[in-house]
């Protein structure tokens, strides 16, 4: 049963995009992902307007004071298991705006982050790579695939941490279902 759920999750992750005070650079690259040249929908990824239907939250921006609590509220509304991807240098650490007034600096100061995709802005290929890595991390690692994965990590994504959190999320969901 868990296998089927994981399979379904990997084949059609619905993502929600939230701009927490970004410059539009990363946001436009996310939209560019949906368009014919990159076409993220071939991985089953669908942009979803409501947090209540989303599996993955893509956050861009340095998190301004006005957005911090709202970001938390959106995260709380998402169903378990949920994953957060911080896209861009600002979302990872505050970037060029680190230390300004009105800026919290970094998504992980407000909500837990599953994967980081650095860059100002990251190229669409990098975002695509990050998303695919996150999806692959949901699958329990198979011994055959391990050497291939070792060649890949160009990104700051931490596969072990992602897997641990993904597994945790699934366990929590199972508990909720059991209730």
């Amino acid at each position: 049963m868990t296998d089927t759920k994981t399979w379904a999750r990997i084949k059609s992750p619905w993502v929600l995009h939230f701009n927490s005070g970004a410059c539009n650079g990363c946001d436009i690259e996310i939209v560019a992902l949906l368009t014919p040249k990159y076409d993220v929908e071939r991985f089953g990824v669908k942009l979803e307007p409501s947090p209540r239907h989303a599996d993955v939250l893509l956050v861009t921006g340095c998190v301004t004071q006005q957005c911090a609590e709202r970001l938390k509220a959106i995260y709380d509304q998402m169903p378990q298991p949920k994953f957060v991807v911080a896209i861009g240098a600002c979302a990872c650490s505050g970037g060029v705006f680190e230390g300004n007034y009105n800026v919290v600096g970094g998504v992980d100061k407000v909500i837990p982050v599953t994967a980081y995709i650095p860059g100002c802005p990251p190229r669409p290929e990098a975002i695509l790579d990050g998303v695919v890595k996150l999806l692959n991390a949901l699958n329990p690692p198979k011994p055959k695939k391990q050497p291939k994965q070792a060649e890949l990590p160009k990104e700051k994504t931490k596969p072990e941490a992602v897997e641990a959190q993904a597994a945790q999320g699934i366990v929590e969901e199972e508990k909720q279902v059991a209730k």
């Binding site: 410059c23 539009n24 436009i28 014919p36 947090p51 006005q66 911090a68 709202r70 007034y101 009105n102």
Partner: protein, 518 residues
């Protein structure tokens, strides 16, 4: 115009010619209203570009940057720090409302008689009496309290009316902003905007970074029109330095700025398709935008942040071997334009959603000081590239696109026609580019002085004010972005229309809030 002010006010005003535009007119607090009244009476096209507030030690300077049909002037006045009160000018010129709110929020100037005082950029629970752009405020000492996730909403008094909150997170908005829309049935009766969700304090941050670092910081105001922001800042600094960059650099700048305009216009034209439920059009436009992104990467090395324009010229030369690739890509895009034009002319769904929606009359466009394609769609012919040619625009022939109907359809068509003009400009620039050096070595410190620089960004006139104090960091940088000037037109045109028309009307401004909030 300057002669008229001199003869009317005599010794009461001090006029410095050639400063901050055509002239800087220094007046006592209070007299600025009379000067503005005289200008408004003398020229029907007088409008306000920006209001700059700046900390001058014992006083706070309030500079009104005014444009008329032929000149651009700055009215300088000062208010005492202990009693920072001045008279509003909103009753004379409604386009000043947002500018005054911003100066009030960031510098604590009280504009007596302003119709809607209150926080505009900073959050509702911002600490009392802390004005971030004052020099005595240290950024790390500001104790911030995050805005709560839900805010109390003032309900309309009339029970028939319903208030609908759009934002901060909303499917139709790519950026976090809030609009409280009051509706009577389906008809919109009032729109109250709340910006500031993307306010990152860039103007303050620029005061603690070097000039070269600031070029990169200013670029990051907006990820779409980034070259324009870099050039706005660089242009103002070069005016203080009194340098003339090499002609080859000017042509390379024009190519960078026009590539910026091309990709921004294609983005908006596609986004408009998405907002009216015509997703195929969105996918088509964004498909054709990708080759332009490749050209930006080819000429600058980066896809989004080109970082090409820098103080003294450009960072990177154009290779002769790249020119054929640029020409082929532009030729392919040009070949696709008739298809899009035919869609805009003949597609019935598109016409239904855009024709006669959000009509802005020419007089309203002038009164609200709107800029760019919004103004040109209403028959108000403002284009800084024509009015005050900068860089190499004086030498390059191009047409100024003006439509007269003033509706959403006209605004989008201005952009569609400008795509073709941009292609013409780039092709001309590539063919006529002079040879020679492309960058000057300039000192890191900038002599004391101040300058303004205006340029035509994709969304309209972008305005920069830079003041230096002789060190290697600027004393004050003020940015007035085009969307900031264009939002009042949306508040006006949305009233009386169906709530379903809001997305199409709104996207026709090409709103960019990361620019607006800074």
């Amino acid at each position: 115009m300057i002669g008229l002010i001199k003869s009317t006010f005599g010794d009461k005003v001090q006029i410095q010619l050639g400063q901050l535009g055509a002239a800087a007119i220094t007046v006592n607090n209070g007299l600025h209203r009379d000067v503005l009244k005289t200008m408004l009476a003398a020229d029907g096209k007088t409008g306000i570009t920006a209001i700059t507030g700046l900390d001058l030690g014992a006083t706070i300077g309030v500079y009104y940057h005014i444009h008329t049909s032929d000149v651009f002037v700055t009215i300088k006045t000062e208010v005492r720090k202990e009693n920072p009160k001045t008279q509003t000018i909103v009753d004379l010129h409604p386009g000043a409302a947002f500018h005054e709110l911003e100066v009030a929020d960031l510098l604590g100037v009280v504009f007596e008689g302003h119709p809607t005082p209150g926080h505009f950029v900073l959050s509702e629970n911002w600490p009392q009496g802390v004005y971030p752009l004052r020099k005595d405020v240290k950024v790390n000492e500001i104790k911030n309290v995050p805005t709560p996730a839900s805010e109390t909403i003032k309900l309309p008094e009339n029970e028939r009316l319903v208030k609908i909150i759009i934002g901060p997170q909303h499917p139709a908005l790519l950026e976090p902003e809030k609009f409280a829309v009051t509706v009577d049935g389906e008809t919109v009766t009032k729109v109250e905007p709340r910006i500031g969700y993307v306010h990152r304090g860039i103007e303050k941050a620029s005061e603690s970074r070097g000039y070269l670092q600031d070029v990169y910081l200013m670029e990051r105001i907006c990820g779409i029109c980034n070259s324009c922001h870099a050039y706005g800042f660089v242009g103002a600094v070069e005016k203080i330095l009194k340098t003339q960059v090499p002609p080859r650099a000017e042509y390379l700048r024009v190519i960078a700025l026009e590539l910026n305009r091309l990709h921004s216009h294609l983005l908006t034209l596609g986004h408009a398709g998405l907002e009216i439920g015509y997703e195929t059009l969105f996918q088509y436009f964004w498909r054709d935008r990708e080759p332009i992104m490749d050209l930006i990467e080819l000429t600058s090395g980066n896809r989004v942040y080109s970082s090409l324009i820098t103080i003294g010229g450009v960072r990177r030369d154009l290779k002769n071997t790249d020119i054929p690739k640029i020409k082929t890509t532009l030729k392919e895009l040009r070949a696709k334009l008739p298809f899009y034009r035919q869609i805009y002319e003949n597609e019935p769904t598109l016409k239904l959603r855009m024709k006669n929606v959000g009509v802005l009359s020419k007089q309203d466009a002038i009164n609200l000081s709107v800029v760019g394609p919004v103004a040109r769609g209403s028959g108000y012919d403002v284009d800084v590239r024509k009015d005050e040619p900068y860089s190499a625009y004086g030498e390059i022939p191009f047409k100024e696109i003006v439509y007269t109907t003033g509706d959403t359809w006209a605004r989008m068509n201005v952009r569609l026609d400008e795509v073709e003009e941009s292609i013409n400009i780039i092709e001309y620039a590539v063919d006529h580019i002079p040879s020679g050096p492309f960058r000057l070595e300039l000192p890191r410190s900038v002599p004391a002085g101040e300058a303004v620089h205006r340029l035509e960004a994709p969304r309209g006139e972008l305005f920069y004010y830079v003041r230096s104090n002789g060190t290697d960091m600027p004393d004050r940088v003020k940015v007035r972005t085009p969307t900031f000037a264009n939002i009042p037109s949306f508040l006006k045109t949305a009233i009386g229309e169906s709530i379903a028309d809001i997305p199409a009307n709104f996207v026709s401004l090409d709103p960019c809030f990361s620019c607006t909030d800074r």
